[in-house]
């Protein structure tokens, strides 16, 4: 009997997203190596930027997008001892709320600190962009400032 050829197909359905006038530039900014916030109705800088003011619901003007960081302060954090395949880093790291310089709200992101002993609330970190970027939130990771 002749060998039966076997082919493997992976069937998947990709969702698409239209990002709109605020999240679109934010992700494009990441691809370009820059983090953007947006000015809220009461004058604060929100990071990540939102299309509408969280307090009043008014539309926020994309002209109010402003660069923030790359440095910032860790407001709070949790150590991930055993990362899974879906985590942003393959080795232990911290999820932290990072308030970037020039921002009034904190961004949740990964801090690649090496060890839990290197983490502390109030520590300075800075954005480290990957060489190959795609306009995703994973284009960037934070590292302790003294190691940057």
């Amino acid at each position: 009997m002749a060998d039966i050829p076997i082919t493997t197909h992976v069937i998947e359905f990709p969702y698409t997203r239209t990002l709109g006038p605020v999240i679109g530039p934010f992700l494009t900014g990441l691809r370009d190596g820059q983090i953007l916030g947006i000015r809220s109705v009461d004058g604060r800088v929100l990071v990540p930027p939102t299309e509408w003011d969280p307090e009043t619901g008014m539309p926020l003007d994309p002209a109010g997008l402003v660069p923030v960081g790359p440095g910032g302060v860790v407001e709070t954090w949790a150590w991930v001892t055993r990362p899974t395949a879906k985590h942003p880093l393959a080795h232990p790291f911290a999820f932290a709320l990072v308030r970037l310089d020039g921002a009034d709200t904190a961004l949740m992101h990964a801090v690649d600190a090496g060890s839990i002993e290197s983490m502390a609330t109030g520590m300075r970190v800075t954005a480290k962009f990957r060489d190959e970027r795609h306009g995703h939130i994973t284009d960037v990771v934070f590292v302790p400032e003294e190691r940057a």
Binding site: Y15, T16, R17, T18, W52, P54, E55, T56, G57, P59
Partner: protein
């Protein structure tokens, strides 16, 4: 249900194959802003928000009621999510109206949407697997059964398709605009699921609908004529059980009885001026006319064939063009309810039915197992005024 509830603001988006000019929240926001503008109210005037949409896997945005709170100006306010498959737009409007009627809130914003281009509804319906039957595949045998039971001629479905597409030309928000469609073209178009031809099937649309509802005292200060909620009803049943009649689901029969009785309607054909009924596939127009006892058994096709369901006919159905012309699934039910309200406000534009004072909105969903209905009037005594 002691208090009156008025619809004072109505908004909808232009329904299109793909709205890639706006984000998902931006699409919903567009309809909501138009409803607020119609009511001449601002976001801060709203006390609560009620949101409805079809199953989350359709776009892959889970629990959008949480992530859209800022877009809907809901910070610090109650936000509710309603979920009853394709009928959800109707159920959502009813939940919103109940918040006013029970005195819970004085001004409620209700929204419903679908951004079909960002996902795939048939894939979502199949639980994320390929090979699902699709809605048309489920409904087609029931339509064949209806045709066999009633002796409806084969051209009735195509007639409904042509009527709704021509009505849609009078509605600037409608997705499909096919002013020259003919019955012959419908019958010659590809057979998708016998008896449903390509042109007898709804499109896949991006779109949203919104309404602002309020109390009687606040409605009197509204700049434009309100529509009044005269009655509402919801019923559901299992999609499959021994002895079920899916051609004439009992939940639909009882829902219609309840909504007409509560509105004081004893002769729907005479007392209702215009109806917006959920017809995603052409044959559902005669099926619901009979399934909700608007006409007797075997009578629906005659009503349609005589042109009585056209604008200007005795019993106009879907002057907006209906689901056959625009189907942003989650919003489609609310569009039926909102279009009914627009008619009694006299604000339906080119597809206005002259002098409409009582209108019926209906939505169904799932395997024809969820029903939501309301009757709206130009005044609180609009039915009684008909004598």
């Amino acid at each position: 249900m002691s208090q009156a509830c008025a619809i004072v603001g109505i908004g909808q988006t232009k329904h299109k194959k793909r709205r890639d000019d706006v984000s998902l929240p931006g699409l919903v926001r567009e309809a909501a802003q138009r409803a607020l503008d119609d009511a001449e109210l601002t976001w801060t005037d709203i006390d609560a928000v009620v949101l409805g949409k079809a199953p989350d896997p359709f776009e892959g945005v889970m629990m959008p009621e949480l992530s859209m709170a800022d877009a809907l100006g809901a910070a610090g306010k109650p936000i509710l999510r309603v979920h009853t498959a394709g009928s959800v737009g109707g159920s959502t409007a009813i939940v919103a109206s109940n918040l006013v009627r029970t005195g819970q809130h004085r001004r409620v914003l209700t929204v419903a949407y679908e951004k079909q281009a960002e996902g795939n509804a048939q894939w979502g319906l199949a639980g994320g697997k390929s090979g699902g039957m699709g809605a048309g595949g489920i409904f087609a045998p029931w339509m064949r059964s209806f045709i066999a039971r009633t002796g409806s001629p084969a051209h009735i479905g195509p007639m409904v398709a042509v009527k709704d597409r021509r009505n849609a030309v009078k509605n600037p928000y409608a997705h499909l605009q096919m002013p020259d469609l003919t019955i012959e073209e419908v019958m010659e178009s590809p057979m998708l699921w016998d008896p449903i031809h390509w042109h007898e099937s709804c499109p896949s649309s991006d779109g949203a609908c919104a309404m602002v509802m309020t109390t009687e005292d606040l409605a009197s200060a509204s700049p434009r004529p309100p529509a009044w909620v005269l009655s509402t009803a919801m019923r559901s049943e299992l999609g499959m059980f021994p002895g079920r009649d899916p051609v004439r689901p009992q939940a639909g029969v009882e829902c219609a009885q309840a909504v007409f009785e509560a509105a004081g309607i004893t002769d729907p054909l005479e007392q209702i001026d215009v109806s917006e009924i959920y017809v995603p596939f052409s044959w559902y127009e005669p099926m619901w006319l009979e399934g909700h006892d608007l006409v007797g058994h075997g009578e629906a096709w005659k009503l349609i064939e005589s042109g009585d369901t056209d604008i200007g006919g005795r019993f106009p159905v879907n002057p907006s063009g209906g689901v056959l012309s625009s189907n942003p699934i989650g919003a489609s039910g609310m569009l039926r309810f909102a279009e009914a309200a627009l008619q009694v406000r006299g604000m339906a534009g080119e597809h206005q039915v002259d002098g409409a004072t009582v209108a019926y909105g209906q939505a169904y969903g799932g395997a024809a197992q969820y029903f939501a209905m309301w009757v709206v009037g130009s005044t609180l005594d609009a039915v009684a005024a008909k004598g």
